[in-house]
Amino acid sequence: MVQADLWWPTWQTLPWKRQALLIHQISRYFLSPLLAVDDTVRVNVTYFGQTFTTYDLLCGGEWLRFIPGARHVLLGAPTPLPTAWQALLGAATLSPQTAVDVSPMLVARKAVPSLEQVIGRIDLTTQRFSGDHFTYVPVKPAVLAALQQAGEQNWPATVSGQGVSLHRQSDHHYQVAIRQDWQRPGLIHGLHRYGFDLLTEHQYEYVMSGGLAQATPWGNTLPAPLPRYVPNRFGLTVPVARAGSELIAEEWGKSTALQPPLAAAQVAALSPWFRTPAPAFATSTYRKVAVIRLD
């Protein structure tokens, strides 16, 4: 595996066969052997007419997206704030601007509530589970009962059972999550068990902003009316409505709870550079990441 191939902009210029081979290798060597990769999908993300090609891996019930690394990428808000950014970010607490190298990584497409741990997914028709079987076995009766209940309610988006939550993932699958009564160290320990980690602030900012030095992932202005989902250069699912901050490896959090319609002062929370000093753990969300380091 040539290191430069996984970095922006070389990744974009590779032929698809080479990309597929690299993704196959990554899925073998950089994900925990305790979890099987159930599916690999090639994805094209179009962002303002520019197409970015990447791959999604289904691992332990969660879709992980491959994000190529970038060298010397500018993250954070410059001081003094550019005039074009003033209107949106003028009053907010922002991370200072630095230039860093961000490694390539596999990052969860969607943020998960901090009191839940996704363990796999279950097929509605066959009731077959794929994911972390060791964790599944003790909660299997609860999951099946919840699935029964979901069938009666005509397959709602979310069903809660005894200690488990089911989230509809596709027309045929529910994502299975265990409700954990844990604190931050417990969450990190749980992630480490499968070789995952929380995003660092730099990684979070890179993943959200796409490595573009602009006030929000959309640009220096926001579209009106505000869409339900903020477009992302890497095609990640970023809803505008948020239950709370997103946890990162540092003590502070990114973003904050938002409920549309947004007031003018709240819009700053959509910026990847926005910091929250002490996020409440219970309402926060988190994203798992597997960093690919070849050195």
């Binding site: 070389t10 303002f48 007419g49 074009a84 602009q214 220096n220 202005t221």
Partner: protein, 448 residues
Amino acid sequence: MSNQFSQFALQPFILQGLTAAGITTPTPVQQQVIPVVLRGQSVVGQSQTGSGKTHAFMVPLLNNVDVTKQTVQVIITAPSRELAEQLYQVATQLAEAEPALRIHRYVGGTDKARQVEKLRHQQPHVVIGTPGRILDLIQAGALASHTAHAFVVDEADMTLDLGFLPAIDQIAATLPKQVQMLVFSATIPQKLQPFLKKYLANPEMIELAPSHVVPATVTNLLVAVNGQDKNQLIYRLLTVGEQFLALVFVNTKASADHLTTYLKAQGLRVAKIHGDVPPRERKRVMKDVMDLKYQYVVATDLAARGIDIEGISLVINAEIPRDPDFFMHRVGRTGRNGLAGTAITLYEPGQEAQVGELEHLGIHFIPKRLKNGELVDGVDRNRREHRQGQQTPQSLKIRGMVKKEQKKRKPGYKKKIKKAAEKEAWFNRRVAKRTELRASRKAHKQDY
């Protein structure tokens, strides 16, 4: 469909010839030249090769030939045999429907005696050839040039370069005073002026040069996208310096839309002009652009035709145009009136061939790349082809030794050569060091 050349009231056989060749619409050059030549005026035409000018003078000249007279009426000279051959092909093709019209070619390297013999019996109506051979025939008393009413000098600058001008001069001297003279040339060099003044009384000066030639004041830069986000790259290029008015060209309406949305989201004031913008809106946008309400314009090729704005300082080709002609159109928007302009062309991997095509058209690109918000020198695309192997300079002594040892080819001869070279290098280094030390000591001494 009727042939549009019929507007010039040409003879039927010419129209037939044109239709047979599939030429139905006159090019701008032909529109300009044909009426003037038909009137019998002299013309000095400045044109590039391949602008359709051959037909522009051949059509009216053949049209004016009177086939009932058995005399030479038109003489056409070209500096090379190949060019004369091309002219002859065009002429015979046009006159295919009129067998009575005699067109002969006289070029060097053919049987002169036979031509003289033939000319004794019959004179052609139209003479096409190289100046040397035509002059020979005239001087031999075979070709009766004094009856000609039209004389064409094609590629006059090349004729001058090849030293044919005295021959042309002598041919022209045998022609009647009121001859219609047509001179075509890519450039009008100073040395040609006396000739033009001598024979052309009141020539019609026609510039046939295509309007879309890239001005010399435009700097063409080439930036490789190489998998970077193209929108972001364009945004950065636009904001590198302070632009008076910058134009970004794209190939499709969709990409114009995308790019405009992106640049607007960055907080730039961007105008968008493409075929799907309604005419009224387009007019308004154009007016706003003229009033400098916008600093940036995103446009497609077709819409760009109407843009004639002063002071465009930067043109960015976000995509390489499908037709190289459009490139000239795009880049020609800047650098007008002798003002300096910059044109930046972005290319992606796999588009080297297209860039090569543009370079073939005579556009010189300077490779650049964007580094820390500044345009710095990039690497040459063809660096591998131009690469030369590393050569260590060898002294005469070593070179002689190599020659000798290679001939003898005794065991370990390569090592021997290497050792000798190293020893010599070591010695030279010592000498250089010593000289340097001496020089510094001397300089030090002079201080006191």
